[in-house]
Symmetry: C2
DNA sequence: TTAATCCATTAACATATGTTAAGTAATGAG
DNA sequence: CTCATTACTTAACATATGTTAATGGATTAA
């Protein structure tokens, strides 16, 4: 689980004991392309660290599937609202490539806060970073055109190679038809 | 400061000692309509609780002023990214009505975490709630038309009464002209 | 009070994105 | 390999929002 603890180590220094304690809450989950890791309607109880592959989270809005987030190897994924409220999630987590995840059991992880304040601190730092990321996403969505957002996203080459355009379109908040149009125009110039 | 501790008390039970400790980090700030409480370019070091009045946060995007957030009496306001990174903020906090704020000194507040784990826990709960609110804002922006977002916002009567439409428009991510058009259409139907 | 500025609306036209439908290319199941 | 399905593109038209400009009412400063 070296990758996971490298990731955490960038946020806070953890002792061997703390690492061991977290490790006990973890399990490995392998899956194949298209596989639903957590389904809509289930209550979240894991924070995932993606070791390899690509995953997305998605939900349905007026019967249409909407991609909320992509994660590549080295990213965390969770259905945060459901984790925090203990209510069924409207969102699903799906592998878009064969991949391997480290699943941190949230209940067990939160339990560790009582014994290891440092782990609670780690969680706090993760929350802060996520909060800033979402605020920036709001700014991005609200004040850039779909074309500009696409231009920014295209820089993440790995994503573009591995993710079908229909998911990219719904992530950008536009239809696949609009995305095609944008792609057609931007290659000309 | 009763209102503030009522607000916190809904999230976590605080002891008298803890309340007293937080209270020491607080000061009262009064201001008048239009007054800039924190200016663009300054580094944030306070979390505000609005006792009375209305405030907004805003920033400039390509030379155009963008309203990010409105707070009414009983809400918290902060320039979170700047608080957490200790870097100058691109955002400003402004009163839109005469009002009174409780300013929590962030440095002092964060210091309390060492002595009072419960206060760190309070902060964590505030972060969690804010995170969920921003994620919901993303969903709202990305998958509702400006018209729908306006229809939702109009329900907050106090806001509509006290906030000039130009700020509402920029909060909705549209021009004032578009908002006028939406308003004209929605009153007919 | 007057003049200047700001706020909100409206109109006319431009652009971006949605919707529907059709066609082609790529993928997957048997 | 073949067929069926899925992914992507393109076209035509509809709708939403942007841009610019003009106007009148409200607010503010002198």
């Amino acid at each position: 689980m070296k990758e996971l603890f490298d990731y955490f180590g960038q946020l806070i220094k953890l002792s061997e004991t703390e690492i061991a304690a977290i490790q006990k809450t973890c399990s490995i989950k392998k899956g194949s392309k298209q596989e639903i890791i957590e389904a809509i309607g289930s209550t979240a109880n894991a924070i995932y660290f993606l070791r390899s592959g690509v995953v997305r989270t998605f939900y349905y809005k007026d019967g249409i599937e909407v991609t909320e987030y992509f994660a590549l190897a080295g990213d965390l994924v969770a259905r945060v609202k459901s984790l925090l409220t203990n209510k069924p999630s409207a969102k699903a987590i799906q592998l878009l490539e064969d991949g391997e995840l480290i699943a941190i059991n949230a209940t067990q992880f939160f339990e560790l806060f009582k014994t290891y304040p440092n782990i609670e601190r780690l969680y706090l730092l993760l929350l802060e970073a996520s909060y800033i990321a979402v605020v920036e996403r709001v700014e991005n969505i609200q004040f850039h055109s779909a074309k500009e957002r696409y231009a920014a996203l295209i820089l993440k080459e790995e994503l573009m190679q591995k993710v079908p355009l229909k998911y990219i379109a719904s992530y950008l908040g536009i239809t696949q038809v609009s995305l095609s149009r944008i792609r057609a125009n931007s290659t000309i110039s």
